[in-house]
Symmetry: C2
Subunit: 366 residues, 2 copies
């Protein structure tokens, strides 16, 4: 067991007070402008596609230097500007009152203030503007996705949500796992005996890994993403990597969709190019690889047209430029097969844990 | 706080040993038949649609008296008979070794024994046969659905899974909720201060209910179904109702799909007509009703063609014969509107908990 250093750049709790301060500064700026007789305006990076670039240095998409200014002087800007000011006010209230919300909830809440959004995509877009302007993800101003992923392992955390202040809990207390929601996302990490994080796409394998005591045998914290990892789960994985210095290994189905689940955890998505807090560039895609279908003689299915089209897209995607990804895409294209994590059960239920997992971890130097 | 009586008919732990015994009896019967020079055979209730009836007494679909016999004497039966014998052997191994599995996993595991299923639907069907023959749901022989739902509230449980034997935990220990997976499904209920169960379809509202301390203010155990409740969650809700005697109130979106989420928890589905362990006939659909859209002036959307078609189906569905359901279907048809749980945020984030919830619970005599 080791005690974890606090006060890391990424630490979730400090993040909230930084964001709260940024929102207040934004509001104070608007007030000053009004007092000075100037039309309030906000300047932020442009999110148009011609300002989105892949950065090999950051290993994610980032925004270029072009900016846009939204001014209350411009009648065409007045509506989105007003919506953004209200949204900033609303999420500041969320932080102040220590309540959380969702994109859908924000859309409906606007009506309580006679602020009009024609549909949810309009309010979602304003929230993305706000993320861009204050350079923090919406989770840091308490707008969360629906929970659906879970964690299990020896990690003692300290909750910070109202009613749970300073309550310490260990994440191995419930064998089915604990949901990753607003409370866990913001919890402080206290101590762990784990030396790695294993991320699993499928519930069946997560349950298998818990039952076969992977957390003990491989000193791992287990994360279940339930398909594409929700943003708050990606943020949580990043925190485990950054704050605890734990390497992250991702296991997903051997097909373009499983591969991309791993990639989004590692390098994020183009539509989050304005954010840096959702990626874990050092995380590794640990399987199931296309080459595993051959090497482990796994039961497989034929790739369909949609799979092949997707593989062609990934081949030219800058996030996939690394030779290992390219090799695996080539193998997929050649064998035209895909397979699932569960396919290892062909050799018995525990084969994946007894044989495949230790071999793979050794192979990638874990 | 009250101590819970053990040894209820439904108690999950005893169930497993009953199922294990039934499987052994089935195997012993086959052995005796072989020794006596008789072709082994299994007789079970027919699941064909003309043998499925709605039972007002049980408030669920049930199978009629017609049976089918699958005999190893009949060459056309030999394949499904063999598959069923293997499946019975395999799930008995799961119980004996205290491991869990999924439908997908069983399909792949067959290959380890050179048992052939042409696709997963064939193996799924054999598992349903086995459920029918031994009259217990597959969860009781350790074949579980993927986890995705959660629970939160003051309920102390005692795990029975390996490594956790006799470990007592309270389900309010993690504010984001604990996943309902194999371990929790089979845990013993020790004590609770709750006097009701509130089931919620949407993650956003589950989080809201936790944040607004519904568990304390209304003495409730909260369940999050994540859409249509997985079978093991329906079984867990039934256990809370049966073993703890807690009334169950279900909140879902005001549309035919939300209504049916409530109905399936209450009365089950036609394709589980061979099982009695997945329903909670005394659970109540507590909202959001079609009439609430009018009474609470909720933001709504127009019902589309698919919604209207579904309502027409539900209107003649025997599970919906009760006058309250019929009234609500009539109102939906008349106003042609639907709305979501989140729509209450139109009056502020806490309105649903501060106003709607207490009014509704009072109205339905909770």
């Amino acid at each position: 067991m080791m005690d974890m250093p606090g006060g890391n750049e990424d630490a979730a709790v400090d993040m909230k007070s930084i964001v709260q301060k940024r929102l207040e500064e934004m509001g104070a700026k608007f007030c000053r402008e009004i007092e000075m007789g100037v039309f309030p305006a906000v300047t932020m990076k442009s999110r148009s596609t011609d300002n989105i670039f892949y950065s090999p240095k950051h290993r994610q998409y980032i925004l270029g230097d072009r900016t846009v200014t939204r001014s209350s002087r411009n009648i065409a800007h007045l509506r989105p500007f007003t919506q953004m000011v209200w949204t900033a006010f609303f999420v500041h209230e969320l932080l102040r009152q220590r309540k959380t919300s969702t994109l859908r909830d924000v859309y409906y809440s606007a009506q309580a203030y006679d602020i009009f959004f024609k549909d949810q995509s309009e309010s979602d877009n304003i929230i993305t503007d706000l993320e861009t302007a204050i350079e923090h993800p919406r989770e840091s101003f308490n707008v969360f996705p629906e929970e659906r992923s879970a964690v299990f392992g020896d990690l003692t955390i300290q909750y910070t949500v109202p009613g749970y202040e300073d309550r310490r809990m260990n994440l191995s207390s419930h064998p089915d796992g604990v949901m990753i929601g607003p409370a866990l996302t913001d919890a402080r990490f206290i101590e762990t005996s784990a030396d790695k994080v294993i991320v699993i796409e499928k519930g069946a394998m997560f349950t298998r890994f818990v039952e076969e005591r992977v957390y003990e045998r491989f000193n791992a914290i287990l994360i279940y993403t339930a398909g594409q990892a929700p943003r708050s789960t990606r943020y949580f994985i990043r925190r485990l990597n950054r704050e605890l210095g734990l390497p992250v290994y991702i296991f997903s189905d051997a097909d373009p969709w499983g591969m991309h689940i791993a990639m989004v955890i590692i390098s994020g998505s183009a539509n989050a190019a304005h954010l840096r807090q959702l990626t874990t560039p050092d995380a590794k895609w640990a399987g199931v690889w296309a080459s595993d279908i051959i090497d482990y003689k796994l039961p497989s299915e034929k790739l369909n047209e949609r799979d092949l089209k997707r593989l062609k897209e990934l081949r030219v995607d800058p996030r996939y430029e690394d030779s290992h990804w390219q090799e695996q895409i080539d193998i997929f294209m050649k064998i035209k097969k895909k397979c699932e994590l569960e396919a290892f059960s062909r050799y018995g239920l525990t084969h994946i844990v007894d044989k495949y997992l230790p071999e793979r971890l050794k192979e990638i130097g874990a």
